[in-house]
Symmetry: C2
Subunit: 115 residues, 2 copies
């Protein structure tokens, strides 16, 4: 049994999935990995099918887990907020990369389609 930040996981793999699992987190991390630093609306542009609320919530939990860094540049509207990976978050790059690579591989291997 693995305990991490107050939560329990039955396996080292499930710990990772607890932090970056779900429908959107790896997609966010992938784009931050490729794009470096991105503003909220730049992320939305990369992920047209996510809702604002969900993107917001996922970014918040990634921030709470120390994976993503949020930097605010203006105190009054219009706000400018930039997101990027923390040093700890950058240690996930090989993981996210292999997840992304396998997705590409599966598409080719099993005749998927890229539209």
């Amino acid at each position: 049994m693995y305990k991490f930040k107050g939560k329990e996981y039955p396996c080292c793999a499930s710990l990772t999935m607890g932090l970056i699992g779900g429908k959107w987190k790896t997609v966010i991390l992938y784009h931050l990995m490729v794009g470096g630093t991105l503003r909220y609306n730049e992320l939305r542009k990369e992920m047209p099918t996510v809702t604002e609320r969900t993107l917001s919530l996922q970014l918040k939990t990634l921030e709470e887990d120390g994976i993503v860094k949020r930097k605010v540049y203006t105190s009054k509207p219009p706000l400018k907020v930039e997101y990027s990976l923390t040093d700890f978050g950058k240690t996930l790059i090989p993981v996210v990369q292999s997840i992304a690579d396998w997705g590409d591989f599966a598409i080719k291997e099993k005749q998927g389609v890229v539209v």
Copy 2:
């Protein structure tokens, strides 16, 4: 947009997560990766906190996705059923390995506890 087996994904990373995401799939794959071929009850022993129903359902979808192979050895009770990775499933080994490795790394890096 990526289309794979009738489903759509906004990113190559989310395709992978669609197949091996969720609370239990990577745990199953991890144990099959380490243990090779395992019977249903051997899997349960490795994963004491999963319910029979959930384990069963996850194995079934992994089988439908061509990742896990199910082999039945007896036609009458007591049944003997063995699970293992398919050749396609084995292509996931580097992915699952890096997910598991990062879990171990995070435990050490952030003072998690192994019980």
